[in-house]
């Protein structure tokens, strides 16, 4: 065994995935299922029924202590103080230049602020939080819990049978539930563009819960491959690809993550450059593209207007629900209007792109107060 292989860690469901025939790959330092029956079928199943994802590689953190809300507001641009219990927000961990260290979900809970961060950068996030949060704030990295995501229009039917009462949650709301004696923390959220749930469960109970969910006729196991194609169609950025430390949240189209009060008050890392960009507009923009023909245009492909490079593709692939290649990239704001014709270069060949509004497939979130 090589050194690299020795460093691949096992998550609680590793053997469970293998028993179901998953192809395992190293991802974020862990052995993770990339696919079971095939990305295309798994993607389409999630869009029409319910897909069960293991996202236990992501970091589940609990921040607690007197003044935790103010302390966190010094590091992220969300209105943490304004959250009511069970309310969640998409937010950003920012550096002093206004670059993005990670994107994360935060929720106010009776215990403190629960945060879910990206697996690939969770150790950096934990280090950053420990360094910059005051000593009286405790940070618990909940490595004893696993995280499942059940996504798709039938996720509600399937989950409500296993965990009655989840229907009281709407999009971006979370709460405590019991499954037998097991305490679950469930949010109505996900990263596929579909209605769905993320379920935090004690690691020793996750295989039994996954089995109980899989026993529902609506549910199939889905790998990370389809998770990526689903989020791409949903127009959602992926940290390390569409977002990084050099990316302005405004250019990335994430201005909504800077809450109203914080826009007035500032006081988050990089608030000066970010609020200035909010006023002046960003010089580049994250946009979507439809791609001519069948050939996918992938991350890293330069984007041209005539002979001038005006941007770069940051995520791209074949969209199973659209049955065509699609891409996300950053281009100069002048070239970012929907309908603009550009070109990408792939293996020395030019491929036509048309700037398109995102999402590529409509979001199906079930929002509180919306007409059903």
């Amino acid at each position: 065994m090589s050194e690299d292989e020795a460093e691949i860690l096992e998550l609680p469901l590793g053997d469970w995935h293998r028993a179901l025939g998953a192809r395992m790959v190293p991802f974020a330092g862990y052995a993770m299922p990339i696919q079971y029956e095939g990305i295309m079928a798994e993607h389409l199943w999630t869009r029409e029924s319910a897909g069960l994802f293991d996202v236990s590689h992501m970091g589940q953190l609990m921040l607690a202590g007197d003044g935790v809300e103010e302390a966190l507001e010094a590091l992220i641009p969300a209105d943490v103080k304004g959250l009511s219990e069970g309310q969640m927000r998409y937010s950003l961990l920012l550096n002093d230049a206004g670059g993005i260290l990670d994107d994360l979900m935060i929720t106010k809970t009776p215990m403190g602020i629960y945060a879910v961060v990206n697996g690939a950068v969770k150790w950096d996030d934990i280090g950053h939080l420990r360094e910059f949060l005051p000593d009286e704030i405790t940070l618990n990295h909940m490595e004893d819990r696993a995280l499942l995501a059940l996504q798709g229009p039938k996720a509600i039917e399937a989950l409500a049978r296993v965990v009655p009462g989840v229907g009281r949650l709407f999009f971006m709301e979370a709460g405590s539930f019991l499954w037998g004696h097991e305490p679950l923390w469930i949010s109505r959220s996900g990263y596929t563009g579909e209605d769905g749930f993320e379920i935090s469960v004690p690691a020793e109970a996750v295989a039994a819960l996954a089995d109980a969910l899989l026993a529902q006729p609506e549910v199939k196991p889905i790998g990370l491959g389809a998770r990526d194609s689903l989020r791409l169609e949903a127009g959602l950025p992926l940290y390390g690809h569409d977002l990084d430390e050099a990316t302005s949240p405004i250019a990335a189209g994430l201005g909504f993550a800077i809450s109203k009060r914080r826009r007035t008050e500032g006081g988050f890392p990089g608030s000066e450059p970010i609020l200035q960009t909010l006023k002046d507009g960003a010089s580049t923009k994250r946009i979507g593209f439809m791609v001519d023909g069948r050939q996918p245009v992938r991350e890293g492909a330069p984007i041209f207007s005539g002979s001038t490079q005006v941007g770069t593709v940051t995520s791209g692939g074949f969209a199973p629900s659209v049955q065509a290649p699609i891409a996300i990239g950053f281009v100069a704001t002048a070239q970012s209007a929907p309908g603009t014709a550009l070109e990408a270069e792939v293996r020395g060949k030019r491929i036509g792109l048309i700037v398109t509004r995102m999402p590529f497939v409509p979001h199906n979130y079930v929002r509180r107060g919306a007409v059903q």
Binding site: G38, S229, Q295, R298, P325
Partner: protein, 123 residues
């Protein structure tokens, strides 16, 4: 006609000095759903072990190498409209290109079917 295999999971059917090249059933299984194939144009010179075609799955692009050196006679036009042929019939209708061998002795280092099977079982 004799069929040979490479350790990069290409197959080559040789008939005199002309041959047909594709990827193996094992390779298509590893790649998953294939959504695009770029095959070489007639007249292209390929070199043993050099890039000859590209196959794209939902997830990623992969190079296909020439098992031997030669001149491409024809790329498989059917793959343009139906790239999934590589998934459904990788060692038949899902072939990639035909070529004229420039050095038939290059076949000597390739595996026969039994050797390839043993190689794949060991992966």
């Amino acid at each position: 006609m004799t069929r040979y295999f490479t350790d990069e999971h290409e197959w080559i059917d040789v008939d005199g000095t002309s041959a047909t090249v594709g990827i193996t059933d094992y390779a298509q299984g590893q790649l998953g759903d294939i959504v695009f194939v770029e095959v070489p144009d007639a007249g292209t010179q390929v070199k043993k072990g050099g890039d000859a075609a590209v196959v794209e799955s939902v997830k990623a692009a992969s190079d296909v190498y020439a098992p031997v050196s030669g001149t491409v006679i024809e790329g498989n036009g059917a793959l343009e409209g139906d790239p999934a042929l590589v998934n459904s019939d990788p060692e038949g209708d899902g072939w990639f290109f035909k070529l004229t061998l420039s050095d038939p002795s290059e076949l000597d280092g390739l595996m026969d079917e039994a050797a390839y099977k043993a190689y794949v079982n060991g992966l």
